[in-house]
Symmetry: C2
Subunit: 340 residues, 2 copies
């Protein structure tokens, strides 16, 4: 269940943050995977969207989005060819790279189709997942400068690790991440590459990156928010727009069992919040059931706020959209389940 009124408020606020700090906003579409939501974001002023998979980018390009950044490494000649094909269709589909091999694979695919593929050098700003460090950036920069069908647009730095940090530590990490980006930017300049774009940040740190000289923000979760963002102090409870509504199907001895479990609410960051019944907490979850410590009536509706909304959305083919407190239709999760 998605409250579109709240979605629109979230979209407006994030666009305002970006505009008022002179940044472009490129929302991450992996959160909603929905053409309708992407269009709301683009109409509000977003320059394009991020996708995390080539298959997601394909959904958005085919749905009319003309500027997509695959904010992830693309390896394998098949995936690289699909990126080149998307660029040959007239959309701009950029890709993150962090290895010489990644550059080679993209260059081969772009060369085969005689297209230019925009790339961002992915910089490890502290998450230690993908991305180059200043110490190993030079070989990748050299490969990019030699690749005739790739164009370095700039740098990308995603700080997913900040989601587990205190507000103070997040501020400190962003400052440190910015210095890393500056250092790699200097290295690019020294081999004659111009860094026009520095694309950074997720929902927990977008407001902090707004204070740096990065050029582009790529938060995703803000459109829906979740229990984790509320706990981080990044979103208020009334800014949560996505809920899972379940029904009590069994009840006895102070416990109530709901007809939705981990196949309907992702628990990768923990159990959901029970917002409809403030006294109730989740005792356990299995595939198809959630057990609450509460005595509730059979058939009663219970509203859950997922702790991590992005993978939860990916479990659903569609959602019921609400406006003004009333259901107004079903909306497809267009890129649901896209994997590669």
């Amino acid at each position: 269940m998605v409250d579109l009124d709240v979605v629109e408020g979230n979209v407006r606020r994030m666009q305002y943050l970006a505009r008022s700090s002179g940044k472009a906003l490129r929302p991450h579409a992996k959160t909603h995977k929905s053409l309708l939501l992407a269009r709301l974001q683009l109409e509000a002023g977003a320059v394009g969207v991020c996708a995390q998979k080539v298959s997601e980018a394909e959904v958005f390009v085919k749905g009319g989005v003309r500027d997509v950044l695959v904010s992830n490494e693309v390896l394998g000649s098949n995936k690289a060819r699909r990126v080149a094909e998307l660029n040959s269709l007239g959309s701009r589909v950029g890709v993150a790279v962090d290895s010489v091999r990644g550059v080679e694979v993209l260059e081969n695919a772009a060369s085969d189709l005689s297209v230019e593929v925009p790339v961002l050098l992915d910089v490890d700003v502290g998450m230690h997942r993908c991305g180059v460090s200043p110490g190993n950036a030079s070989s990748v920069l050299a490969a990019i400068s030699k690749a005739r069908h790739l164009k370095l647009e700039g740098l990308m730095g995603y700080d997913g690790h900040s989601g587990s940090l205190s507000a103070e530590s997040r501020e400190w990490e962003v400052r440190r991440g910015w210095r890393t980006l500056e250092e790699v930017s200097r290295q690019a300049g020294s081999v004659g590459l111009r860094v026009e774009v520095i694309s950074v940040g997720g929902t927990p740190t977008a407001h902090l990156w707004a204070g740096t000289e990065a050029t582009e923000l790529q938060p995703g979760t803000y459109v829906y928010n979740d229990a984790h963002q509320v706990e981080l102090g990044v979103a208020r409870e009334e800014e949560v727009s996505a809920f899972v509504v379940a029904q009590v199907v069994s009840s006895s001895g102070g416990r109530a069992v709901l007809d939705v479990g981990t196949k309907g609410v992702s628990v990768d960051q923990g159990y959901p919040l029970v917002v409809s019944h403030p006294g109730a907490t989740v005792a356990s979850m299995s595939e198809e059931h959630t057990v609450l410590t509460a005595q509730l009536r059979l058939e009663e509706r219970v509203v859950l706020v997922p702790r991590h909304v992005c993978p939860t959305v990916d479990l659903w083919d569609e959602f019921v959209a609400f406006r003004g407190g009333r259901a107004v239709g079903k909306v497809r999760v267009d890129a649901r389940g896209k994997k590669w």
Copy 2:
């Protein structure tokens, strides 16, 4: 990726266990959600399948399965009506009940369509999720005996809690669960209800229930198996038939990053095993990435065995089927994402 040779061995072995112990086998289809796999099981001798949702049952009935047990409570007039409709189509679709309200809702729906709906009284055999205890069974049994359009076929007892117990404790729990079922069976007899079916067990305890006087086994996971079943000692590694194959997309400093994360492998029971690279372990997982503690080549293929295969299967629209070590086609996960 599913190895159909291994699947067929698993199907044969479980069918043999059931047959040799005089039980009917009703495999739980929530594991595979696939008509192809259900047909393999039925051809091997299964009497029908279990589904966990009405929407899953609809997929199997429409796919030609004529005997389905919704091994879960069905509340809400909409869901109950759909169960009655499925029965009016000529298939037998039974339902678990554990409350007087559940009996009323089903009776109303069955009465509206003038059909008979088979029900099993769900008995709590120790899991403390759904199901009646001997102390609160009598009111539900009385309601069933009055309901003119419901037919009590027997009892159901699912022991999902056993999956976290040692082999010895599981044995003990099954004996205790059997005594509970006997007690409720006596109560049913005393109000003139005949218990013909006692349907029990999951993959970790099917071999233990085979030694009781239960009439029907309903394991699901055995068809694929997973890291959890291997750890329990219930399946051998060579009996695992479902894998997620990922690719290294980033690599540096002793870590390798794969292009699949929690949107492709469920982590509700923990991280997957890396079977292709015995030295490698999972350091962390996020939505779209898995970080391994291993230095691997970019583009290298890595084979993961999920710790919990059922919700992992539900993340995929289809799988690549192998026979004799060769890919032979793609198979749809027909009931993927079915929620209510």
